[in-house]
Amino acid sequence: AWIEKLVVEGFKSYGKGRVEIPLGPGFIGIVGPNGAGKSNIGDAISFALGLATAKTLRAKNLSYLIYSKDGEASQYAYVEVHFKNEGTFPIEEDKLILSRKVDKEGRSVFRINGTVVRERDLRDFLARTGLYESAYNIVLQGDVIRFLKMTPVERRKLIEEVA
C-alpha cells in the first residue's frame, strides 16, 4: 500500500481552495526553498491519520492549522489521504480514503472511506497495518534523533507496540 495523493483544503499554507498533492509509490523527493510548505505536507499526513498533537504540528491548538492570511481565512482545515490498498488494509476496496476536518472551535471529524469514526477506532484500524501511535515511520524536521533521546522505558514501549 502507498499514499497515492493528498487532497487538502484550508490546511496551513495551502490556501482556501481544494489542492491535490500527488505522491505515489517508490522514493518521492519533496524539494523547494525554505518556507515553501514542504513540512506542511508531512503535517497534513500526520494530522489526517490522528498521529500527531497540535504541538508536533507546530500549532498552538488545532484551529491554528486553518489557513489564514491578512483579511482572509478559511472556516476549516480539511485533509484527505488517498491510499492504494494492495491487501494491507483489512477492507474490500482497493482504495482507502482517510480524512479529517477541524473547525474553528478545534473540533475534529474523522472518516474512513466517508464513514465517520471515532479517533480511537481510526487508531486501532491503523495499528493493524503498521501505522502505530508511536509513528516510528514519520520523522519530523529536526526530530530524527528522538529515538536516541528516548528513555530506556520509552524505547521498550516502542518495541512492545510493534511486537
Binding site: F27, G37, S46, L140, I159
Partner: protein, 157 residues
C-alpha cells in the same frame, strides 16, 4: 506476551546491527535489555561503538553518527514490521556527503517494499529519488508541481 516481545526484540536488534554496520563501516550499534530476566521491569538501552573507538556514552557521539543510528533503528523496525509509507523530513541535515549517499542508496533499495516520502534541501539525497515534487509559495499560498531536476526549483527562494 513475553515471547512476542523477545522475538521482536531479537529480530529488530539483529537488523539494527546489520544496517548500522552497513552505514558506518567498522562501527557497531545494538540494543540491550536492562533486566533480561524481566524485560518489562526496565527499559532498553542503545549502545554505540563507532569505528576505532570503544563503547561511547550515546550523547557523546557526533550529530551525524546519531542520525545514522536512528535511521538504522527505523530500517530495522521496518524489516520486522513494515509500515506502508515512511515520511522523512530533512534527515540528511547533519550528514556529510558520503553518508547522505549511503542513506540515499538505502532508501532507494527499500523503496521497492515501502513508499518513502523524503523532504530534502540537498541535491545529493534528491538524486536518488524516483520522482521529485517541487513546492513553492507566493503571496502566502503554497503550491506543488512536478520537478525534473533539483536545481531548477529547490532553492529559488
Amino acid at each position: 506476551k513475553l515471547s512476542a516481545f523477545n522475538t521482536a526484540f531479537d529480530s529488530i536488534n539483529e537488523g539494527l546491527k546489520r544496517v548500522f554496520a552497513e552505514l558506518s563501516p567498522g562501527g557497531r550499534a545494538y540494543m540491550e535489555i536492562e533486566n533480561p530476566q524481566d524485560p518489562f521491569s526496565g527499559g532498553i538501552n542503545l549502545v554505540v561503538k563507532p569505528k576505532g573507538k570503544e563503547v561511547q556514552y550515546i550523547d557523546a557521539i557526533s550529530g551525524g553518527e546519531k542520525t545514522l543510528v536512528a535511521l538504522a533503528l527505523i530500517f530495522a523496525i521496518q524489516d520486522y514490521r513494515p509500515s506502508p509509507f515512511y515520511y522523512f523530513d530533512e534527515v540528511d541535515a547533519h550528514l556529510d556527503e558520503v553518508n547522505a549517499r549511503r542513506i540515499g542508496e538505502l532508501i532507494r533499495k527499500r523503496s521497492e517494499k515501502a513508499q518513502f516520502i523524503v523532504v530534502t534541501l540537498r541535491e545529493v539525497l534528491a538524486s536518488y529519488a524516483d520522482r521529485l515534487i517541487g513546492v513553492s509559495i507566493r503571496s502566502g499560498v503554497s503550491r506543488v508541481f512536478p520537478v525534473k531536476n533539483f536545481f531548477a526549483e529547490a532553492s529559488s527562494g
